[in-house]
């Protein structure tokens, strides 16, 4: 099954990251950590929330920060929507739940290659989700499997994944201009909004560059 094969890199990284999440979250949330992974299913936001709970931030601020961090899914979802014309509302509602940076990256790549349909996307999301939730549970139960110095470098696996996806998403000069613009803005804008705002500026730069070069 191609969806299973494609999901493997995501499954491996999600499983290790969510195990780390479970190990840390255990002290603050107990078994509710599993509920958070099962309902929120968003790595960065969950780690940020953990930090904010540890620092006793008000609930409303944690939710607002989650919205800021995860509002980038609006962009991903609106990009994917083009491949879901004529697909039932129920399926769109279910597939939406599983949109993450990584499942979006793989699914959008496969849709562009005409090698994906909604079933592929649902399966890809499901395998990734299973890894995320079960890894969280494992992290709670077996909190000390990995030596500290190994678990500390694991999150970089996600950055490496993004780099690889970035390389395959740059197909022409205007893509490169969009990427460089977004990247530079993301470095200098304050974190929280930076991913969303920098991405929008990057899209604009790409569109403008395309017009100029024509």
């Amino acid at each position: 099954m191609r969806s299973f094969k494609d999901s493997l890199p995501i499954v491996v990284s999600y499983f290790s990251i969510s195990t780390a999440f479970g190990m840390i979250a255990k002290d603050y949330l107990g078994f509710q950590a599993i509920l958070m992974s099962a309902l929120v299913f968003a790595g960065a936001a969950q780690f940020i929330a953990l930090q904010m709970i540890a620092n006793k931030n008000p609930s409303a601020l944690i939710v607002l920060t989650t919205f800021l961090v995860n509002s980038r899914h609006l962009l991903m979802s609106s990009y994917l929507a083009r491949f879901y014309r004529g697909i039932s509302r129920k399926i769109r509602a279910i597939v939406s739940f599983g949109i993450t940076d990584e499942t979006f990256a793989v699914a959008s790549k496969r849709f562009l290659e005409n090698e994906a349909d909604y079933k592929y996307n649902l399966q890809l999301n499901f395998f990734s989700y299973l890894a995320w939730v079960s890894g969280t549970a494992l992290g709670i139960f077996f909190g000390t499997i990995l030596p500290d110095d190994v678990s500390r470098v694991l999150p970089f696996g996600l950055t490496a994944l993004f780099i690889s996806i970035l390389v395959s998403s740059v197909r022409q000069k205007s893509d490169l201009i969009a990427a460089l613009t977004a990247g530079v803005f993301a470095v200098f804008l304050p974190s929280g909004w930076n991913i969303v705002v920098a991405s929008l500026i990057g899209c604009f730069a790409g569109g403008v560059a395309e017009r100029w070069m024509r």
């Binding site: 609930s59 944690i62 990009y79 950055t159």
Partner: protein, 92 residues
């Protein structure tokens, strides 16, 4: 503080962002929307690797590998192992 309320709130705002464009007609100009993938992934990567430390070096290694080979798992393994070794070597 009630953790359950935080979790439900996080679920609500996250699902909203994921589902709104899929369920409602939430249109962005087409010429720009195709630049979402390169823009978002650059925005996610750059802040993490632009502090000129071990991560910058590991990212460059991953970049070179990714240009030659599109395998995502390979990129991930190379990234984590390079970062681990670079931190052990304490060059920076």
């Amino acid at each position: 503080m009630d953790a359950l309320i935080v979790i439900l709130g996080m679920f609500a705002v996250t699902y909203f962002s994921r589902a709104l464009p899929m369920l409602k007609d939430f249109k962005l100009e087409n010429r720009y929307i195709k630049y979402i993938p390169p823009s978002i992934f650059a925005a996610l990567v750059f802040p993490d690797v632009m502090r000129f430390d071990e991560k910058t070096m590991a990212a460059l290694i991953v970049l070179l590998i990714s240009i030659k080979n599109r395998n995502l798992l390979l990129a991930m393994l190379v990234g984590v192992i390079s970062l681990y070794l670079l931190q052990k070597a304490e060059i920076f």
